[in-house]
Amino acid sequence: STAGRRRQQSRNRSTQPQEAPRVPSMADYNSSDQKTACRKHELYVSFRELGWQDWIIAPEGYAANYCDGECSFPLNAHMNATNHAIVQTLVHLMNPENVPKPCCAPTKLNAISVLYFDDNSNVILKKYKNMVVRACGCH
């Protein structure tokens, strides 16, 4: 559907010459700067350092991790880029002022089990879903 429109736009341009808006090239969006690429970073939440070892029996803490970095072309360079990320990138390229780039966020989260005392000195073993980032990607 875009092919016909593009041909029409090109015909319009030929009749009404005007400077086309500069569309950023692939080079502008390549993620050669690996420091800013979307990836998983380690972050450890320590129950011990929070001073909670009097009521949390186990674990001492957990590697929660977080996602950080830019989502830009080529999206394949990032882990698990979604179809939405491609669409978001296209819309961003067309309207960079108003539409942000895709978001670097968790794509896979794991659970942890926590063993702790309650106020009555009863002990609780509970599974908490989505506590540990296992993989990041572009959404």
Binding site: K35, T36, H41, E42, L43, Y44, V45, S46, F47, E49, L50, G51, W52, D54, W55, I57, A58, P59, G61, A63, D68, N110, A111, I112, S113, V114, L115, Y116, F117, D118, D119, N120, S121, N122, V123, I124, L125, K126, K127, Y128, K129, M131, V132
Partner: protein, 266 residues
């Protein structure tokens, strides 16, 4: 309490400002983590008998049996369960517990609050009472299985060649002038020489106690010889409050979430 570890390239992310959290920021962060854990405030347990009574030990056994299997969480327990993780002999956690765990989202052990020795002169009937507080179960959690656990030591007294019948009752109603109304939950016949943890199924009773805490009047336990004579629980080798901490009686319940947990807006 939040540490930034070194990345794979052995450097902290360049754009990240590394600083200590201010006191109020740390307090807010603690509140957020407590909220994620579904707790309104930081628990303040009274650990008069130390952290590692029988109930925490049992729970630690369960925790150790699932640690390393977090990919599947409690669901993968049957595959990962290894009786070798049990830290003492005889084992606290059994394979039956692992079966319950397979279907559980939460496991909770309950400390025995009361242990009264009673003796009625009419028929010299001895029994012990036990009470557990099930009033603070998080909303939306349903009991899938529940056990009362009591340790039996090997008997080396006058009863050493006896067979015992141990009965567990739910207290239905208490009376000042006569014995309480009881409902038999479970009974077990044991040799005096047997040693280890006895498990009594109290699932239906626990469900009732969670639904209507006013009906929670506790459990009664009594022991009779094969000839029908009532006897002291201590003489049958049953460990009570005066026994070692690691062999104290306790209750354990397995729960499944029946409602979606929604974090409350603060």
């Amino acid at each position: 309490g939040v540490n930034f570890l070194l990345d794979g390239a052995n450097e902290i992310h360049a754009s990240f400002i590394h600083r200590r959290l201010r006191t109020h920021e740390k307090r807010e962060m603690q509140k957020e983590i407590l909220s994620i854990l579904g707790l309104p405030h930081r628990p303040r347990p009274h650990l008069a008998h130390g952290k590692f009574n029988s109930a925490p030990l049992f729970m630690l056994d369960l925790y150790n049996s699932i640690s390393g299997g977090d990919d599947e969480g409690l669901q993968g327990l049957l595959d990962h369960y290894k009786p070798a993780v049990v830290t003492q002999s005889p084992p606290l956690a059994t394979l039956q517990d692992s079966t319950f765990l397979n279907d559980a989202d939460m496991v909770m052990s309950f400390v025995n609050l009361v242990e009264n020795d009673r003796e009625f002169s009419a028929d010299r009937r001895h029994h012990k009472e036990f009470r557990f507080n099930l009033s603070q179960i998080p909303e939306g959690e349903a009991v899938t299985a529940s056990e009362f656990r009591i340790y039996k030591d090997c008997v080396s007294n006058a009863f050493k060649n006896e067979t015992f019948i141990i009965s567990v009752y739910q207290v239905l109603q208490e009376h000042e002038d006569r014995e309480a109304d009881l409902f038999l939950l479970d009974a077990r016949t044991l040799w005096a020489a047997e040693e280890g943890w006895l498990e009594f199924d109290i699932t239906a009773t626990s469900n009732l106690w969670v639904m209507s805490p006013q009906h929670n009047l506790g459990l009664q336990l009594n022991v009779r010889t094969s000839a029908g004579h009532s006897m002291m629980l201590r003489d049958a080798g049953l460990v009570g409050r005066d026994g070692p901490h690691s062999k104290q009686p306790f209750m354990v319940a397995f729960f499944k979430v029946s409602e979606v947990h929604v974090r409350t807006t603060r």
